[in-house]
Each structure stands twice: as C-alpha cells, then as structure tokens.
C-alpha cells in the first residue's frame, strides 16, 4: 500500500438528449453530419442574435439533478464565461456560475460489501463548444456542436481510489442513460471528464496540492491519467519535492500528462450574469411533475430485484445494467407467471438471450423478440412441451425470424416426445446397436448413462423428454 492517499473530485460534462440545441432551433444531433451543416445565425453568433432557453434542456437537467439527489433551485441564473477561442463563436460560453439549477446532491457507489456516498456539489446547464479540425498547417472550425446543451456535474473530492473513480463514473453514466438524458456513447463524446487530483500522506487531514487534468474523453483515459499522475506525484513527494498547482492535459496516444497552464497564467473568465436571459424561476409543480416521471434508479431497482425476485446481487446488477434490460426482465417474469421462477427467467435471459443479443451487435430493445414472446418460450420449456436444448434452438430461430415459439415448434415438429412407447422403441434400438457398451455399463461403468442418453436423444432428434429417458434407461439397463 502506498504511503499516500489519493483524493479525487470529478467534473463530468454530459451531452443532453434534446432534439435542438440549447439556444437555437438547430438539431443537436450532428454526428457524421458535414461540418457546419447544423448551424444558424444564432449558434454562429452573428451580430444581433439572441439566445432563447430550450425548456427541454432545463427539464433534463432537473431530472438529472433529482436522480442525483440534488436540491433544485427556485431561481437559476445563466452567466457568461468569457474567453476567446475559435471554437467559441460568441467569445463567451453561456453557462451557470452563481445560482446553478441543481446543488447539494449525492451518488452512492458500491464499495466492497456496502456502498459509499459521493457528494455532488452542483449540476448545471451550459452550452457545448464547436470543434477545431487540424488539417496540415491550418485549423478548420466546425460549429455543429456549438450550442449543444451540456450538463456539468461537479463532485466533491470524495473519491479515494481509482476503483472508486471508475465505479462513480460507471454509476453516473448508468443513471444518466437510465433517465434518458444522455446517450452514454463516449466514443461520440457524450461524456467528457476532468479530474482534480491530489495526494496526501495517509492519515493526514490536510489536502495536498490540487492538480487539474482536462480533456479526458473515456473512462480508460481517466484511469490511465490518474495512474500516471499518482506515479508522477509520488515520485515528487518521495524525493521531498512539492507538487506544482497546474492544469494538465492528457495525451492519450503518448500516455502522459502535460502542463496546459500554470497557476500564474490561469484564465480569468470574468463571469457575469447573462443579460440576454432573465433569471429562471423554477416552479415547484414542474419539479414535482418531473420527479413523478422519473423511473426507479438502478441501485434501488437492484435492491428490489434481490428481495422481490430472490436474485443474487451480481445477477441483479447485470439485469439493471440498462433500463431496457431490466424492463424486459420484469415484463418477462410477469408474463411467465408461475411457470418458472424469476431466478430461472433470469438464467435464461443472461444465458441464451444475452448471447444472441451480443452476437447481433444490437441492443435488446431493437431485437424482434418481446418479453411476451420470451415468456411463451419459457412456458413451453416449463410445461415440458420442449426440452431445454430445443428451447435454445427455438429461441435462436425466434431471434432471427421474429416468429413465435409455438409456431416454430409446430412447424418444425419439435414438440418433446414424452410417449413412453415411442421412447422405449428408441431405447431398444440403441441398446441393440451397442451390446459392448451395455455390457460395460452392467459391469459397473455407470458413467456411460450419459452417453446412452445422448444416443437416445440423437435417435429422437433431440425431442425426447430427457428426464423420462434417463429414468427409462436406468430401469432398462438394470434388467
């Protein structure tokens, strides 16, 4: 164990899922669109243009704030953050400074057997910048992203290990995706992180010098950058040196941080209230309406799955991982009724169904199979119309064709053979064809029972009721 304790606070910028941009009518989703095709005089900051607040962006921010246990402000104010850069057309970013929309929340993360509460300082609404595209010795400006609403979530420095940081980010992403305010698609820049990190001797109450690491665009980048910084700062502290208060950038391909700005050259953003937008007064009735529309959050749902369905925490965690998965599971459990236990339904889902989903490369909600169809299949297995192996095969066909389980079983004649006469004839055929094995079994090699079962299943093209076959084989061989 290192003699230093890691102290981390995170700032996460999450793109909201609104149709239009924060202050104009341009589409907010411009992935793959030609440069500057999603722009208008407002987001190009042409002279005389004025912003109008996107109500849906405010609603999504409030929903995120509620999901993160924040207090929702009664009065929120937008502010101008001033700095000049070509990706910022107005020369200021409309953000929030004093009086943000959401304050004083928290997020619980798994820590060992229990959970740990990470405090959220604030969550506020702001607009994204454009992008600079470097082409040879020139830089080109693409303002498609300029003005897309961004939710900035600032945590207190409550994280104490890289594992906790990772858990926090995963949980945060899960919640934002769950409540439908973020795509979770980090490859497309849906979440971008900044980390404030310091080291201090263990058992020290004082915080060490804080260093800020910017432009971390994946959870892996956060992990790598933190590991790099911990090693760098440990070396400095071990040799009796002092860590300098700086802002760092992260060079992903080189795997190292570099100094962007020193304390002396820190930006003065000259924040002041945005005079083009009057203060927002958030009506309580609206907040209550948004709170009522908020779905059950992952951790609460996981706890309920454990108690209500008797699932293990690990299984419940997998099933609540995405809202669509959890919704599917609950609908399937309801539709299966008493035919199967919730635990069995979970096993079928996490086994066969997840494998098929994974192979398809598409999310579950886009698959042709519905919870009701899945339940129909499970019921056929449960009432022994088909056996488990046939069930797997039928599921695969359902997944490919979108047909119902009963239709497939009927058409392909897959109904399980439970007729004792039919099975007895099959068993006689197998025994007659393999006298040596019969002899060896009777000499004590009872492990051959499985082999005999396989032969009988092949003889019946997999349709035999395996339990009945086992029972009949054992009786016949003992004679």
């Amino acid at each position: 164990m290192s003699k230093y304790e890691l102290v981390v606070g995170l700032e996460v910028h999450a793109q909201l899922l609104t149709k239009s941009k924060m202050f104009c009518g341009c589409s907010a989703d411009s992935w793959d669109a030609p440069p500057n095709s999603h722009t208008c005089p407002i987001c190009l900051a042409m002279p005389g243009m004025l912003p109008v607040i996107n109500r849906e962006a405010v609603a999504q921010t409030i929903r995120a704030g509620l999901a993160l246990n924040c207090t929702i402000a009664e009065e929120a104010v937008f502010a101008r953050k001033n700095y000049m850069y070509p990706d910022l057309p107005k020369g200021y970013q409309i953000s929030q400074y004093e009086l943000p929309l959401c304050v004083n929340g928290w997020l619980d993360i798994d820590a060992g057997e229990g959970t740990k509460r990470i405090r959220i300082t604030r969550a506020h609404l702001e607009e994204d910048t454009g992008k600079l595209v470097h082409a040879g010795d020139v830089s080109l400006v693409d303002l498609n992203r300029a003005g897309v609403p961004l939710l900035e979530i600032v945590s207190e420095p409550d994280l104490r290990s890289i594992e906790e940081v990772n858990e926090y980010l995963s949980r945060l992403r899960q919640i934002l995706v769950y409540i439908g305010v973020n795509s979770g698609n980090l490859e497309r820049g849906a979440m971008r992180m900044e980390a404030n990190i310091s080291l201090r001797p263990r058992r020290s109450a004082e915080l060490g010098t804080k260093v800020e690491i910017k432009n971390l665009n994946s959870f892996r980048a956060v992990r790598n950058a933190l590991e790099y910084e911990v090693a760098r700062q440990t070396r400095i502290l071990d040799s009796g040196g002092e860590v300098e208060q700086v802002t760092l950038g992260w060079l992903e391909h080189e795997g190292r941080t570099y100094v962007q700005r020193t304390k002396e050259s820190a930006h003065d953003y000259r924040y002041f209230p945005e005079p083009d937008l009057p203060p927002l007064f958030i009506e309580r009735a609206w907040v209550e309406e948004l709170a009522a529309g908020l779905s059950e959050l992952p951790l609460a749902r996981r706890a309920r799955f454990e108690s209500e369905y008797g699932l293990s925490r690990a299984d419940a965690d997998v099933l609540v991982g995405a809202r669509a998965t959890a919704d599917f599971y609950e609908a399937a459990v309801a539709a299966t009724g008493d035919a199967m236990t919730p635990k069995q339904v979970a096993n079928w889902m996490m086994g066969d169904l997840f494998r098929l989903v994974k192979e398809s490369g598409k999310p579950l909600q886009e698959a042709s199979i519905t919870p009701a169809m899945f339940a129909e299949l499970l019921t056929l297995v449960a009432n022994k119309t088909i056996n488990a192996n046939t069930g797997s095969r039928v599921l695969k066909t359902m997944f490919q064709t979108g047909e119902g389980a009963a239709t497939i079983v009927e058409r392909e004649g897959l109904a399980q053979v439970s007729d004792a006469d039919v099975l007895a004839q099959a068993i006689e055929r197998v025994l007659a064809a393999h006298p040596d094995e019969v002899g060896r079994y009777r000499d004590g090699q009872t492990k051959l029972l499985g082999w005999f079962m396989g032969q009988v299943m092949r003889e019946t093209r997999g349709k035999a009721d395996p339990n009945l076959v086992r029972q009949m084989l054992m009786e016949r061989l003992q004679r």
């Binding site: 005089p41 002279p47 005389g48 004025l50 001033n82 000049m84 020369g91 200021y92 000259r270």
Partner: protein
C-alpha cells in the same frame, strides 16, 4: 424641395388613402432629397434607391388591392445597427465592413409587414458608442441646423435624416441617450421605450441590459404610430415583456390639465448651458400654463448614473464585442496565426473609443475587481431604479433637460473622456432604470451666433409610454417648435 418631403406619416397617410399621391412618388421625392442634401448632411451610410422603389411599388399594389395601414408606403431610415434584409449592417465599424446579414431585426420585419419602405441605413457612432457620430468609422454626420456642428449621437444619422427631410421617420437605438440626445439637438422627437418594450432581436448589441430601439420623428403623433408598429413581445428576445401594446395614437389627446410633474434639481448640472436652462424653464412655464403643476424634487442618485452606466455598459459590451474575431464574418486582418489574427483584426477593426470601453469593461469584471466595480454598480443601479419608483408615487412624470450643452462643433468635442461622458449624464439614470422617456422640441438657444435646438425630456413610469406621449403631444401642440426648419436649400 418637394413638399412631399415635409410630410409626416399621418399627413402622408391621408394623401395616400385619398390616392392623391403614391408610395412611389413619396419614395422618389425622398430619394431626390437625399441626392440633393446628403452630400452636406451625410446622414446615410447606405441608400438603396432600387430596393426602395421596388418596395414602394409593392406598397402601391397592396393599397390598390384594398390594404390600408398607417405605414403602407412610408419611406423611412434605419440606424445601421439594426439589421434589414438585403442591406449591409456595419454598426459604424470597420470590423463589420461588407457584412450582409442573412436575417433582419424583428423591428424591421414588423415594419416591412406593415408596408414601410426602407430608404437606407444611417450613420452612427461605432457600435452606438458616442455622442456625435464622430466615432463612426466612416464619416461624421452634420447637424442640419448648423452644418459645422454634430447632430448628436449615437443615432445622429437617423436624427439628421429626419431633421433634413431625408426620411419621414427613422429608427434609432438608445443605450444611454442615443435617441434622445440627437433628437434634442436636431429639433426632432425621439423616444426611448421602456426596457423590454421593443425587441432587440437582430439589433447589433452594445449593452444588452440597456439597448432599446426607439423612433425618431418630426412630431409626436408619428412617434406614437411608429412605436406601436415596433413594440410588443417577441419570443426571440427573452427580455421583451408580454405587456399589451396600446394604440398610442388614440391616446394622445387629453392634455396635461391636473397632472403633477417633478423637476429634479440634480438635472440642472453645474456645466449646464444657460440657453438650455432657459429653454427648459420656459417649457415648464408652458406646462403650468396648460394646467399642470410642476414641483422641484430631488433625485439624489443622479450623480451615480454615469459611473454605474460606464461599469455595467462596458462590462456587457466587452463580452458582446468578443464575437468580432475575424473568423466567421466581417473584417479579418488575415494574419498568419490565430492569436496574431485576433490582435490585428480587433486592433485595426475597432476604433479608439470602442477599444477603450472594451478594456474598461473587461477590467470591471476581472477577478478581484468584480465585487467592487460590476457588482457594486448593479447594486447602485437598483437604488437608482427604486428612487425613480418613489418619485412616481408623487408625480405623473418627471421633466428635465436632455443634454446640458448645445451640439459640439465638429472636431471640437471635449478630448477628455470624462468630460465627454458628462454629455449624456442626464439620459443615463433613466436608461439604467429602464424607463420610457422622450425628447420633444422645446425651443432654440444661442451659442456662438448660431441658433440651436433644445429638447425637453419627459420621463414616465415603466411601460407607460402612452402618458409620456400624451404630455409631449400637449406640449408640442401648444408650442409647435417644429415649424422652425433647418436652412438647407
């Protein structure tokens, strides 16, 4: 000069309705007038005769089809800080030279819908920062009453155009007095509406919490007509208010009998010209004669108007002007690297006064100074507003001078910025409080052998433009100073 150029909107409206004149004739007369006098007055930055005549023809067609509107076929001028479709917008700055906006301001759109004819864009101080149009990057406009003097500013081009009969009416903008002060100096009527009354969408921003578009007209009735056309809530400007817009023209009559006016002592500042003082006191006598009572009062926070205005206004403009970086539109110096291009574009694109104010504003907002400058200014701004509110518990309106001094001779504006900033000391507190106020002609004064116009300022309660116009109308009808025309052959 064609008599058509002497007309007001309401006079022209009657002739157009009766078919005695056409919009094309009216427009052509004004284009000819511009041709004749603008080389001396220099009111316009841009005139588009073809576009204007096409609009006039369209107005005549609309009228022939049965349409009728006060503004149908009325040729007007627009300060070149308000965007108009098909016309360049420079804001009087090199940095926007050649900029053609692909949109137009809400006020322009509203006027276009009503059938107004856009003659062209008028000169102004760069980004509306100034008192004289001397800060225009292009040239200085002249005062039609004394061509060796400035018309005032920043809406000097609009005021000069109306005074010189180069447009029936014009739009200006008033951030700290930029409509009222040039109106006062050109014997025209200039109104600053309540903040939030008129949309700022498409109006190039100077100071967002202060800018308002206002009408500059030959008489009060025209002012009422034009205000009604541009006023009202605009979903594209979140700072406009949903207050209904009355038919101001119908509310002009009624006089001032029984009204009670306050005369703030602090508005008779130390440097006030005796001619201005005399004209205002005569105007007060006239109001009393008309049946009003006038009582001296105090507005103690008046002296803070200037520092508060120059802190809040410059802070806002320092951000509003950050977009002029040479990347997307307007002038670009074309330097080899980004920071150098910023420096050269803004260094060469902006004039001295604009740069001075950007620096002042950035300083007022900077870390360590924000509380003592910007924040304190905002607090004092609240006190100024509250002091007016208190005054309106007693008075129906306040009356005061507009500018303490007569128009400067060109090139003889005070060189000390602080002395220069005193020019608008009487129009700043009302702008900070967002109040409606008007400058109405109040006579003439003598200065160095020239006879120069003086305006009376009437200040009203928020969103009560109707009362301000009614008082101005009563005063105008009883005095009729507008009959004194500038001597321009």
């Amino acid at each position: 000069m064609s008599d058509l150029c002497r007309l007001t909107i309401h006079e022209a409206r009657d002739l157009l309705r009766r078919g005695e004149i056409s919009a094309v004739e009216l427009t052509r007369a004004h284009l000819e007038r511009i041709e004749t006098v603008d080389a001396r007055v220099r009111a316009y930055l841009h005139v588009d005769a073809d576009l204007a005549l096409a609009q006039a023809e369209d107005a005549d067609r609309r009228r022939a089809a049965g349409e009728d509107d006060s503004l149908l076929g009325i040729p007007l001028a627009v300060k070149d800080i308000i965007t108009v479709q098909g016309m360049p917008a420079t804001a009087g700055s090199r940095i926007l030279e050649g900029f053609m906006p692909p949109y137009e301001a809400t006020v322009s759109r509203r006027l276009r819908k009503r059938g107004a004819v856009f003659l062209g864009k008028t000169n102004l101080d760069e980004f509306a920062m100034g008192w004289s149009t001397e800060n225009s990057a292009f040239f200085t406009s002249r005062n039609p009453y004394a061509l060796d003097r400035v018309p005032g500013g920043s809406s000097g081009g609009s005021a000069a155009a109306v005074a010189a009969d180069e447009a029936l009416v014009a739009l200006g903008t008033d951030t700290g007095g930029s409509v009222r002060q040039p109106a006062s100096w050109t014997n025209t009527v200039g109104l600053r509406p309540s903040y939030g009354r008129v949309s700022r969408w498409g109006v190039i921003a100077f100071a967002s919490s202060l800018d308002q578009v206002g009408p500059l007209t030959k008489d009060v009735r025209d002012n009422a007509i034009l205000l009604e056309a541009i006023a009202g809530h605009d979903p594209r400007d979140s700072t406009t208010m949903p207050e209904p817009v009355p038919r101001y023209e119908d509310l002009l009559e009624g006089g001032v009998q029984g009204m009670h006016f306050g005369l703030p002592r602090e508005y008779f500042v130390k440097n006030i010209h005796p001619g201005v003082r005399r004209a205002i006191l005569q105007a007060v006598d006239k109001l009393v004669e008309l049946g009003a009572t006038v009582e001296e009062t105090h507005l103690h926070y008046t002296k803070y108007g200037m520092p508060v205005y120059y802190l809040v206004g410059t802070a806002e403009l320092s951000a509003n002007l950050a977009r002029y970086d040479g990347v997307r539109y307007g002038f670009s110096a074309g330097a080899a690297n980004m920071w150098e291009n910023y420096r050269q574009t803004r260094g060469r694109g902006f004039g001295q006064e604009v740069k001075r104010r950007i620096i002042l504003g950035a300083y007022a907002l900077s870390a360590g100074y924000y509380d003592q400058y910007y924040l304190k200014a905002q607090k004092v701004r609240t006190l100024i507003r509250e002091e007016f509110e208190t005054a309106f518990e007693t008075f129906d309106a306040l009356v005061a001078p507009v500018a303490p001094v007569p128009p400067f001779k060109i090139g003889q504006s005070p060189t000390d910025p602080v002395e220069l900033y005193l020019t608008d000391v009487l129009t700043l507190p009302t702008a900070l409080a967002g109040l409606p106020c008007i400058s109405v002609p109040a006579g003439f004064m003598e200065d160095e052998g020239e006879s120069l116009p003086v305006g009376l300022q009437i200040i009203g309660k928020p969103f009560d433009e109707a009362t301000v116009l009614r008082i101005a109308y009563a005063f105008e009808q009883a005095t009729n100073w507008r009959q004194v025309r500038p001597q321009l052959a």
